[in-house]
Symmetry: C2
Subunit: 308 residues, 2 copies
């Protein structure tokens, strides 16, 4: 049983041209109540407000690439955090050009942030670890797009061993932490109860992989293999496969194909071209290839299951 | 009688921190069916869509200063115009730092615009003409703010003389254009009817003055004197006058005082601090000083009357 949350909220599901009620890309990842923002299209602060979320709780922002629909909301969010009195640090991860873009705009507006802002450069090298804290490890996915573009894998840290429900009463409360940590239990008479008889393995860690703006890229498979939830862009239908190839985007069928080959738990589609009034046409092309496919929508919340 | 429109649509009326359903500053000026965008806060393209307006019709954008709530929607709008196939030129007027900010972001996104983009530098010198076309002349207002900040005056070009309704039947149709242009009418028998007996003076041109983000600045008075409509920021109530002074913003009473001293036709308030749930508190402080005061609101349309 997983008690603490590991879920993704899709704030915007449109492609380059916002229309049809879709907003540009942004997602909010909740890991045990810690929040990570992934991409930040124009209006993201407004979407976070609409979701009733206090954006000061975000400590880390991951930007996949510098097409406007994935980062143009960043400056406004940075500024609003400042105006609302933020003092805790904010970490931003993105392509190397992101830092000068932020710097020139803060300088032009005469803004001296009240909080420490750390902008970290990411390089598109699959498997490279760019962030680690007590809740997640974040690694990079090298996507294939028109400009340098990285996806991200968020993997839950392994939890502690779990006390067996049928044995927990035998363990004095002050000894439970050490048993969870893997130690044997020494009884008052000196006898030893081995750890393996008192505990179970930790729950399988959960993983979320985010593939935004990429052509079909089989080189990703080993890096997203078995994740609980894979988000993959699905800009076009198969009828537009040529356009997908030309613009280095994917069709819904290609997203499903990758999910199938990587044997992920579930697939979440997004980044829908404005030419599609309903994204159902994209879902319908993915389902025959990969049945556990979901459609993202504005404000949708999707739990991430354990890795397979 | 004015048949062709000269009106302003207020797309966003919030201050630095968007909240309470207010959006950041942007206004759309309609002069005889030609559209000029004034400031372009985050989400302006979305607001233009919400107003049912095809933003490809905008030919000129005027940016007052580089605080984010006045320009962060610009890159998204530039990009959407491009993606929607724009080919006609776009002219942007703003502080000198605006051009490098646009350039670095177009470069980082690998965008080669399909249409000519001309970014013109403005300097805060009141009365300087920065744009002129067949419909308006645009001059600068040197505002007093924390960073270089310009307001703008849009003055309608003088129209032609108008044919007197009681004499128009005497003028052969093919002669009417020349009479409107000021020529006398020569009849077939060689007699001359003087122009003054056939025509009336052109209608008084209409003027709109935009004062965004400024402390109370009496030096503006000669430059906005008698305009039909003055937009002036009114961030704070009088109780917050110290804060207004410190941040180089205005109270509603100061905006009204300037409108009174400049003897404008009407005053339009905006840029309301997020601390005010309703802007009525600001209106109520302005009305006793300047009775012809209006409150801007999201999507509000305000006709501009003739200059006084």
């Amino acid at each position: 049983m997983y008690h603490s949350p590991f879920s993704i909220t899709t704030l915007g599901t449109g492609a380059a041209l916002p229309a049809r009620g879709r907003f540009p890309t942004s997602q909010l990842l909740n890991v045990h109540g810690n929040h990570y923002l992934i991409d930040c299209g124009e209006g993201t602060q407004e979407r976070l407000r609409a979701a009733g979320f206090n954006f000061q709780r975000i400590g880390h922002i991951f930007i996949s690439h510098l097409h406007g629909d994935h980062y143009l909301g960043l400056l406004g969010l940075i500024s609003s955090m400042h105006l609302m009195g933020r003092q805790v640090p904010l970490h931003i991860y993105g392509p190397p050009e992101l830092k000068p873009i932020i710097d020139i705009q803060l300088r032009a507006s005469g803004t001296w942030l009240r909080y420490p802002l750390h902008v970290h450069s990411t390089e598109p090298v699959s498997g490279a670890v760019i962030h680690q804290d007590t809740h997640v490890t974040v690694t990079v996915l090298a996507l294939r797009h028109r400009i340098p573009c990285t996806g991200f894998v968020f993997q839950e840290q392994s939890g502690a061993r779990r006390l067996r429900a049928d044995r927990v009463q035998e363990i004095p409360p002050f000894k439970r932490a050490s048993v969870k940590a893997g130690e044997d239990l020494v009884l008052p008479d000196g006898s030893v109860v081995t750890n393996a008889t008192l505990t179970e393995d930790p729950l399988a860690p959960r993983s979320y992989a985010y593939c935004s703006d990429t052509a079909y890229e089989p080189a990703l498979i080993p890096f997203v293999s078995g994740v609980g939830l894979l988000y993959h862009e699905a800009t076009f239908t198969t009828a537009m496969a040529d356009r997908a190839k030309e613009t280095l985007h994917s069709t819904a069928a290609q997203a499903a194909q990758l999910a199938k080959e990587a044997a992920v738990g579930q697939l979440l589609l997004g980044h829908f071209s404005s030419r599609y009034k309903s994204a159902d046409v994209l879902l319908n092309e993915a389902l025959p290839i990969f049945p556990r496919t979901l459609l993202s929508y504005e404000g949708g919340v999707f739990p991430v299951g354990p890795s397979c």
